[in-house]
């Protein structure tokens, strides 16, 4: 049902008188809005008008690589339909693109490529399916897939690595530790170092965690790995209150010159916590397309009272509304922060933060839950986060203060 479009002559006097009615109407319109096209459809007149820029040109190296992988899948479908390897290669490449470019369409492409092998028990198929499932936050399904891969091939180290990483997100440190130990038994020292370092850091032994991550850093020359380790070292240092140390790690990671959304998000959160929003605006210029970074940018601009804040807050609102319409819940951690700090709706923020914490239990998930519970004075809602603080012994002083404040 469309909203009423009849145009009324509007006068400020009359709008004030009927503000309640207007509010109800605006609310209804807002509920219907996500289903409405943004603007009126139009008929372009200039054939040369560029309507859309594709993410890649057919001649680009990535595009050519994908074309080759796709051709192999089509060939295999004809010649050896039971062979899943060409499909897993293409799906794996799509997965990497989804992460690198922050574009979920590639996850959908990968799912479709793997669809014909839904019943396969090959470790490679199970592993890629597990990755795609965790990308959609189906963590239990992903754990089962990786477990299935390990049943067939007990030496499959990356399956252990993935299971460890998922258990970390779920705050199940005992289970994560078992996966780390399995990596040690398989004699994968570097994998073990990264795995155990985070288990330590998340469960109350930050110094040991820091040391393990540092050892792993000393062992690797791969820039991607170094970037990730430096980022995590920066986070651990910030949790420990070692701000100079944290900044040193972050800057070393940034100096590698690789585009990395996770690093920029962690660095921005660090700067926002240090009341340095102007630097966030500088670093995040041009990253508006990423929801997570747009959130940090809008937070910084709001703190600086910059005019761009309004547009960016609106853009976030539109994106969360669009996600809601299609039933997408993978953005809940960001959405809770948006609702709490930008939309000024702590009650809604708490609902979303509680739902998010049932799925993801990393320190930042606990933090937004605690903040929302303090803002709404609903101590009970943050009980799971306080339980986690107590049982894990997580050592971040700020989070511990939030924990006590939320209990009152």
């Amino acid at each position: 049902m469309t909203a009423i479009h009849r145009i009324k002559p509007s006068l400020s006097a009359s709008t004030e008188i009927f503000q309640p009615a207007l509010a109800v109407f605006a609310l209804t319109a807002a509920c219907l809005a996500p289903l409405q096209p943004l603007a009126a459809p139009r008929l372009p007149t200039d054939p040369a008008e560029v309507l859309e820029r594709l993410p890649m040109r057919p001649g680009d190296a990535t595009a050519r690589e994908l074309a080759g992988l796709r051709a192999a899948v089509i060939r295999a479908a004809k010649e050896a339909p039971a062979d899943p390897l060409p499909a897993t290669r293409l799906a794996g490449r799509y997965y990497e693109l989804a992460i690198a470019r922050g574009d979920p369409r590639y996850i959908g492409y990968a799912d479709a490529v793997m669809a014909p092998f839904a019943k396969s028990r090959s470790p490679e198929v199970l592993a890629i399916r597990g990755q795609l499932r965790q990308a959609r936050h189906d963590f239990d399904g992903a754990l089962a897939d990786f477990a299935g891969a390990l049943e067939v091939d007990p030496q499959f180290a990356s399956a252990h690595a993935w299971r460890g990483a998922i258990y970390l997100v779920q705050a199940n440190y005992a289970a994560a530790r078992q996966e780390c130990d399995a990596l040690l038994k398989l004699d994968r020292a570097t994998l073990y170092g990264g795995c155990i370092g985070l288990v330590f850091a998340y469960s109350g032994q930050m110094e040991a965690g820091s040391a393990a991550l540092q050892r792993a850093l000393d062992e690797t020359r791969d820039p991607g790995n170094r970037l990730w380790l430096l980022t995590r070292l920066g986070e651990v240092a910030a949790w420990r209150g070692q701000l100079d140390e944290a900044e040193k790690h972050y800057r070393a990671a940034l100096a590698l010159g690789l585009d990395d959304g996770y690093l920029l998000a962690a660095w921005s959160d660090f700067l926002l916590d240090q009341q340095r929003p102007a630097e966030v605006v500088k670093w995040l210029a041009g990253w508006e397309t990423s929801d997570g970074l747009l959130l940090r940018l809008a937070l910084a601009e709001t703190a600086l009272k910059q005019p761009a804040a309004k547009t960016h807050v609106q853009a976030l609102a539109d994106r969360f509304a669009a996600a809601k319409v299609r039933g997408d819940t993978t953005h809940r951690a960001e959405e809770a922060r948006y609702l709490l700090h930008l939309a000024g709706d702590p009650a809604a923020a708490l609902t979303v933060a509680v739902a998010n914490y049932q799925v993801q239990r990393e320190p930042r998930d606990a933090r937004v839950l605690l903040e929302a519970s303090i803002a709404t004075k609903d101590a009970g809602a943050a009980q799971p986060a306080r339980d986690w603080l107590r049982s894990s012994g997580f050592e971040d002083a700020y989070l511990r203060r939030l924990g006590s404040a939320s209990a009152q």
Binding site: P37, R53, P104, I107, V169, L191
Partner: protein, 378 residues
Amino acid sequence: MMRRRTFLHLLLLLCAWTTLPAMAHKASDSYLVLQVNGREVAGQWDVALRDIDFAIGLDANGDGDITWGEVKARNADIAAWALGRLKLERGGDCSLRATELLVDDHTDGAYAVLRLAGTCPSDAPMLALSYRLLFDIDQLHRGLLRLAVDGVSHTSVLGPDSGVLNVKAGETSRRAQFGQYLVEGVFHIWIGFDHVLFLLSLLLPAVLVHESRRWTGVRSFRTALTEVLWVVTAFTVAHSITLSIAALQIVELPSRLVESAIAASVALAAANNLWPVVERRRWLVAFGFGLIHGFGFASVLTELGLPKDALVLSLLGFNVGVEVGQLVIVACFLPAAYLLRNTPLYRKGVFVGGSILTLLVALVWLAERVFNLRLIGA
């Protein structure tokens, strides 16, 4: 290949995903709006150009840009590709064709807009829709459907496991339809400032009596209530009559004329409070001008579209909605006005001040609406 990847790299990917859903664009959605009235189908389908490119290729010159020329050249292919993945059944397969190709922008880029038209074999109560656009190449794709069957709306998110929708245009939906029009009626009276102001202008003096050129409060609530009931009933009866004959297209009036007359009625009703001409039988005024307001309500109903097979029901629903909206206004107004009737705040501020304000607002409306009329005439 998988095993050569390091844990750190994998973990990086995982963290990048889980903590930074960082989606540059959202996942793929199409927006499908369909209206099925009896056998007739009309609609609009917005599909992202990027998705069409991935499915059938649009970038003819391979420069990474999709131009209007490249889209237009593939008009027939786009329509055939999309419509081949959408099936609508009502008493058998409905024929669907794309009548027009337009473009539009959504939060994640440019979309092709297909205007659709078609015919179904019958107007049977059962209607089935089967959607499978893009699922073969993108399992995260969703079709966001808004389907109106004989005026009753259904919304649905269509996915690979939920691409089929069965709708029964039956009893329950009739009830829903009645409710929907009822809500529209309530909203319309609330946001229709001119109707509300007209009603209030007639209600303001209901708690007062004009004696020897002075206004004093009525003695009993009953007196005020009787007056209000007469006014509201007369307004209701009158606008129901004209709303019905206009909605059934028995009489049609130019909307500018109607809108201007409505503005004039508000001005006259407010002026009558300041310089009383009609004092006793205000219900006659309510009835007379109510006839004009009914034509105003009808224009809204025309825009909403009345389903042909449930015309009377929807009309009734809308009418009842307008009444409910009116009663809420009266229920808020009357007790407060009655309690305050002997205070200067009411008599000077609300009654005189409110009438002056209403008069001014109505005169501006009148000027605007008449001005528009001249603009159009010129």
